[in-house]
Symmetry: C2
């Protein structure tokens, strides 16, 4: 779909995005203060992503909270397409999932879409396999509960899921699939089948499934929500984030294929600092004099946006930075230093967890943890 | 495709068929006397299906024979869609495969398309599973080599095949799939994926794959023949049979959904005799007097056609029957008695093998035989 200069399809997001329009367009709901309060109450604490409206939209989140309150529980589902190294934007949703998992004590399923990446032509079999292993190691670095998290590669796990894939795919016709995913007559038949594969984990449990993802993923789940109840399951609930702007500016999102536009998880502290100082799009003025007079435009300043949405926990400190930077008291170089430091401490912690326990966590989440063992022992058959 | 009053698509065959036109239409080749001689020489004996032109058309059969002569070998692939009980028309190709397997000492792969039958809406999961078990027992009754035959249900074996399915499906787009299979926008995305699944066994070995099937199946393999060499494999070779006319007449073929039009494998001798005597479409004349004068039209007489194509081994005896029946010397009741007797002795032998060794053969062909064990141990990955 193309509209008002911004384009949002499941495959591609570019342009400066008006989130309120997106909510209207997709027909999702804004996360209200009431809902935020309910989450805080049930979780026992707040999360900055919600407080700052980085996660800002949802479907059926109220029902998820009711299910949890009643003791019926729910489960989380997210995924990763292994076609390159991971950047900050890829890993953030896993950290949010970790918080949800800990606070609500729920299972988390992570689909590694090695089949879909092949169908989209994003690499050879060998390249995709190699990225899958690396990406899973990065997910291990998040420190998810290894007994409540199941990470599976579609190609490897399909033996346990095909019965479900057969039943789901029978319920979706080409017309629906192509309107949701933008297929046409030159789309390969693997890709056409993929919506069914992507949907399987929403039926892993009879409980309600909550999917944390950027809002452009919402369309993906339209077909699931159409058929779930016919199959005796719940419509997938969702909690939607905004897009993380690329380092180089608010016109689009980070991409592994443009590594200079993103902070990669394996960037060294010096690389991070250099990228931020040199590449981060600034809302500040061109000359120091002008900046002192006019101040910065926070709405397009990448350093400020990243701090606000993702890295600056402390509300007072954020408010102070915003005030000083927008008034011209703080210079671009200064706010960039703050971001570089935050990024490097985030990445250092991530890498340390990965080095210390990565291999063990990966093995457990994939094969040996409690949930993984249960999943390998069963056929997902929707009965 | 619809043309000249007969319709031949992979899903449906009806009407009186001109086989020579079909060969032209599909662009296949007639099995020449030279080829028949080569088969006889290499097989060490003749087969009546070839002698009588029941198997009458092919693709690349000459190459298959050359491969065999050179010692490179080949393998056989056929399948069954488990949506009902089997009739005579279903089991005949397995008997021909058995002969090919024995004479050429080759592996035979039998795909049970429990996924496809679900996608075509031919039953509930439970019905299809139940028919799959029964159909496989009937295949066991054929007495195939249990160490060189692998019978697999797609849903059960997909874990070993999905890697191949991913690679194959990437090479086929909706346009090609829909032109071959007649898909449209209301076709479900499982069915759209199915051409890739059906194709996988043609890549089970690096040798040439020979598919024995009725000629209407030819189109199925067009996409395989388009992509096989790109994947480093051979184009699937085929040997095509005519359609077995329904008991009730030459207008179409037998169908399990019209059990009175077919001889079912579990029909009792009395039922077989009654169906043949009462339902078999006759080329004879209405009154005895007229018949004695004009004789029978062999080309539409089901009893004669079945004897000629399938059940009367003895050439002299067939010639005698044809001569006497067409001249009016033999009556319809007499030729029907001959057919009923042949059918019942065929079915009795089949049932006896099934009762004596069916369970054992089924287990071996599916799981415990040499070939089955090898197939369960490996991933079909096209590498």
């Amino acid at each position: 779909m193309q509209d008002n200069g911004f384009e949002v399809t499941p495959w591609d997001v570019e342009g400066n995005v008006d989130y309120r329009k997106l909510v209207e367009k997709f027909g999702t709901e804004i996360i209200t203060d009431k809902l935020k309060k309910d989450i805080k109450k049930q979780a026992g604490e707040d999360h900055m992503y919600l407080r700052r409206d980085y996660f800002f939209s949802h479907r059926d989140l109220g029902k998820v909270l009711k299910d949890h309150e009643r003791g019926d529980g729910f489960f989380l589902y997210t995924g990763i397409g292994p076609s390159g190294p991971m950047h900050i934007g890829h890993i953030i949703p896993f950290y949010f999932s970790k918080w949800l998992q800990e606070r609500f004590d729920v299972n988390l399923y992570i689909q590694v879409t090695d089949d879909e990446r092949y169908w989209t032509g994003d690499g050879t079999t060998e390249e995709i396999e190699s990225y899958a292993e690396k990406n899973i190691m990065d997910i291990a670095g998040v420190g998810l509960d290894p007994d409540r998290t199941f990470v599976f590669k579609n190609k490897e796990y399909m033996g346990n899921m095909y019965e479900a894939a057969v039943k789901i795919s029978e319920k979706i016709n080409f017309s629906v699939a192509s309107s949701v995913f933008g297929f046409n007559s030159s789309t390969n038949i693997g890709m056409i089948f993929y919506p069914a594969v992507q949907m399987i984990p929403t039926f892993f449990e009879k409980k309600r499934c909550l999917i944390p993802a950027a809002i452009d993923q919402d369309t993906y789940w339209r077909a699931q929500r159409d058929i779930a109840e016919k199959l005796g399951y719940h419509k997938a609930a969702q909690i939607h984030s905004k897009f993380i702007p690329a380092l180089t500016g608010p016109e689009g999102k980070m991409s592994s294929s443009k590594p200079r536009s993103a902070i990669m998880l394996d960037d060294s502290p010096a690389e991070v600092r250099e990228k931020v100082m040199k590449k981060a799009y600034s809302g500040g003025q061109v000359t120091k004099e002008e900046h002192r007079k006019k101040g910065a435009d926070l709405s397009v300043d990448v350093a400020y946006q990243w701090l606000k949405n993702l890295f600056m926990e402390n509300d007072d400190r954020l408010e102070e930075i915003g005030r000083k930077y927008s008034s011209g008291e703080m210079l671009t170089g200064e706010i960039k230093e703050i971001l570089a430091e935050k990024l490097n401490s985030f990445l250092e912690e991530h890498r340390k967890r990965k080095e210390d326990r990565g291999e063990e966590l990966k093995r457990k989440m994939m094969y040996e943890g409690k949930l993984a063992r249960r999943m390998w022992d069963k056929k997902v058959d929707l009965r």
